[in-house]
Symmetry: C2
Subunit: 367 residues, 2 copies
Amino acid sequence: MKSKVSRLRHKIKRLETLINTSMVFSGILDIDELLDTVMQKAEEVMDAEASSVFRIDERRKDLYFITARGEKGKEAKEIRVPMGKGIVGWVAKHGKPLLVPDVRKDRRWFRGVDEKTKWVTRSIVAVPLIVKGKVIGVAEVLNKKRGRHFDKGDLELFAALGNQIAIAVENASLYSDLDNLFLSSIRAIVEAVDAKDPYTRGHSGRVVEYALMIGHAVTRSKEKLKEIEISSILHDVGKIGIPDRILGKPGRLTRREERYMERHPEFSAAIIEPIEMLKKLTANILHHHERLDGDGYPSGLRGKEIPFVARIICVADAFDAMTTDRPYRRRRSRKAAFQELKRHSGTQFDARLVNILIREIKKQQLA
Amino acid sequence: MKSKVSRLRHKIKRLETLINTSMVFSGILDIDELLDTVMQKAEEVMDAEASSVFRIDERRKDLYFITARGEKGKEAKEIRVPMGKGIVGWVAKHGKPLLVPDVRKDRRWFRGVDEKTKWVTRSIVAVPLIVKGKVIGVAEVLNKKRGRHFDKGDLELFAALGNQIAIAVENASLYSDLDNLFLSSIRAIVEAVDAKDPYTRGHSGRVVEYALMIGHAVTRSKEKLKEIEISSILHDVGKIGIPDRILGKPGRLTRREERYMERHPEFSAAIIEPIEMLKKLTANILHHHERLDGDGYPSGLRGKEIPFVARIICVADAFDAMTTDRPYRRRRSRKAAFQELKRHSGTQFDARLVNILIREIKKQQLA
């Protein structure tokens, strides 16, 4: 009787852990961070040495790692598992959880991954990730710690956990799909605006690329990087409001036309401003043509008065303008553009950001 | 000893229910559907007669119902609860769960809602909804069935459920924020394109409105309605590619200019096509100027060959064009536009959709 009570108590403890675990992770929408947290918790609850999550590639009819934790995780991540092959492939194909107390005694066991990674698998619990009746992937834990083997209780617990993982993965995917939709739609429309002037075709896309090169060097904050990306993709959207005869003029603009052209940051800002969630990016866009010495437009801001992201876009924008053809001049070489950026560092451009962009582009050329 | 085991078994059963419940609901990103499912399950698990979820309005410093289930749910939904007032206000203010076995014996109890709704509350369990350390709302269940009162076990269970609800609400909010961002950004840019020609200012927004009037009358599928909304907001985005001298020409277009103008659905489709998630809307946009009799453009499709959503946009688009000024004519009255739409039903427009739009607009005028 005593042991029955203690067994039930143990079960309650594990169920409670499970509930607390699911609370921790279902609130995270970043899929990498999410899965790492999930599987770390899973290893804790399951007392496992390593764990992996696979996603099914419907087109290629195989599975690829989206998370591989443990000593040999990095090596494992390169490998793809055919549908139906090995334990993971079996679980994906049949959509059923599987307990393998000792892999050497299971004929479904496939040595391939261990051979490639020099890892020794002893025991596996693998569960299908099912969303709305469809298998989208597989989660597994490997090797119960202290030389033990997984048992039926482990299978039951991990199956419940698998349901949570499936939902979390699906939520994160839905979110990331929508995020991609947002960015790619904005981008497609902005590209159409850029393409009105053959000389600026592809400009905004390249400015995003350069701005993110600088961004990755100065911050690891995903939120900040997103801010840089969205601000730079939208910096010239206001060109929608510039008449064709100015935008596409074959030759230098008159002073009057130039003054009109210089209103494009205001037009861009005016488009963004009413969008509640983008309001905070307005200043990044409005001020991307300011100069450190105060001689820029539209507001004549100086130095640190200019928002940081606006200073990034300014350097990225100028570099792309220099290295592409214009009606009145051929494009400069990258080397010449670097010199030009340096010459105007401290007066027009933020010297630190110029140096970072040059360094990052050189790094990329070497790669 | 027997009773201890059966108590533990009972607890396990409830924990398992809780885990299964959380699996059902954390996968739903539609907040209304989600909360209704969540609270229905909560009532089941808690054996409760009714339930509510409140969200905190930070600006107004009060709480409003986002879900109110039970007999008097509809009446309750109008009411706002000041922070700190009543059981719910107390839980929101202190961020702590609260068990009230008998409301008549609790001095925090506030009769106001019962008086307004003619509902009799006996017993309450209320828990704060906390995300990343911040109270975002309160969930409560009311009146344990069969005249019983809630107890400590109920409080414990509902507190765990509250954590799940909080995360689900937060996920759904994040998703719906991003969805709003997507739509409002597209809309802001398209409005800037419309505004290039003063005669079409606000056009796309109105076409969305008319198209959705038809949409709501023909389907309840949220997915289909979303398809109608996105397709109609983007139907004229290709006007970015039409030169100003044609787009803003004060007067009738020459045949040659008209032919260029008629390419705008192709331009719109070309912008949308590369966007993976919008690819399936391309046909809706490409064919919004087809005619049932095959005399439309760009493909001369006939009748049912024209995608359903394209036929909707066609009617909505024509109605807005008729009822707004053009350089070469004043706008028609709604009545005259209705006659015009009817006259061309069956040849240019889908008669059923014309009738629906007319009916819906008349309904709205009466309201």
